[in-house]
Subunit: 204 residues, 2 copies
């Protein structure tokens, strides 16, 4: 019945996320003190911890928003991929990368990745792993689509190939966010160069 309590809860969630997102961007993850987030969201410190297990989970909620957008954008490519294996992969990778810095700064990505390895069993750690899996799955779906279209050999191990492509891209992205001066075009070019080896191997 969408009672008062439920509405207030949703509203507090939103205020906390908005306050945190703003402060993470302004002051960086470490620089954004929980007290400051609480003050800006007009709730108490205790309330934040009632909603999120720890500071990392707040960042986690923001990351989920970003990655889900990326996944959505990727669906279009899978549905109607460019009629060329190299271009198809490049287009999908491009969408992932170009969307990735929309809400999250490199510093926020670094923190998010760090937390997800540090606490793999926390809510955020598990959510992050699930997001990675979804991305891998989407790449696998693209390969499957390309096989249907007769652009990729039928005898290719699609699952293994999807993992290979995702893992390489992801590792490149990790290195990318670790260096503030790294630029997107160079990242894309490097991944394209790596994928070229695979494209040669799997094309009909």
């Amino acid at each position: 019945m969408s009672g008062l309590r439920a509405r207030q809860k949703a509203d507090r969630h939103r205020r906390i996320i908005e306050a945190a997102a703003a402060l993470f961007r302004e002051a960086g993850y470490e620089g954004a003190k929980i007290e400051a987030i609480a003050a800006q969201a007009e709730v108490s410190v205790g309330t934040i911890y009632n909603y999120y297990e720890n500071k990392g989970d707040i960042l986690g909620a923001i990351v989920s928003l970003e990655v889900n957008e990326v996944l959505n954008a990727g669906r279009g490519v899978v549905a109607r991929p460019p009629a060329n294996v190299g271009d198809a992969l490049d287009t999908l990778v491009g969408i992932y990368i170009e969307h990735s810095l929309h809400y999250l700064s490199k510093e926020m990505w670094r923190q998010a990745m760090a937390i997800s390895t540090q606490l793999p069993d926390s809510p955020f750690g598990q959510a992050y792993t699930a997001l990675d899996r979804s991305l891998t799955e989407q790449i696998r779906a693209l390969i499957s689509r390309l096989q249907e279209l007769g652009l990729v050999r039928r005898d290719i191990d699609g699952a293994a190939l999807g993992e290979l492509i995702f893992n390489n891209m992801n590792m490149m992205f990790i290195e990318f966010v670790k260096r503030d001066e790294a630029r997107i075009p160079e990242l894309r070019a490097a991944i394209r160069r790596q994928n070229r080896i695979l494209v040669a191997a799997i094309g009909v």
Copy 2:
């Protein structure tokens, strides 16, 4: 030369590392309090921070020891690789993976990886990136060696291939340390399956 001061310094370094390694293993990274490490090493908290920028750097020193051993073990394979591309890669990957849990527990690896992404510019962050590069380079050297031996096509982009193989392996290793129940044989099998696609593409 080699005055008292230098000797005491080296000795204190050693004691701190030994105390930390023992406590990290016993109590985990978080569980090993700086005060406890200081007590066991018979120095004060302040002294530890005089030697290491932060707790992560202590772990970093231990990780470096481990990875350098791995690199050393790998040299043998590069010098005399198995006469088959798939086996050669599998042997090198195997050495990396089998040695990896010698001194470091999965939990210690998780922390180390997290810190290296979180603080890429700290002494440890930079060292970790350099170690990754060395491993990538060693894989590239193996490929180069296999090309000399006529086992891999000459027109293959060795640098890109080395990165691809390392990045995939590394990402698989990250997922491996994130799950306590994951086992080494399955990890190796999964990587072998992924590399099979590449082997088919690059063999003469």
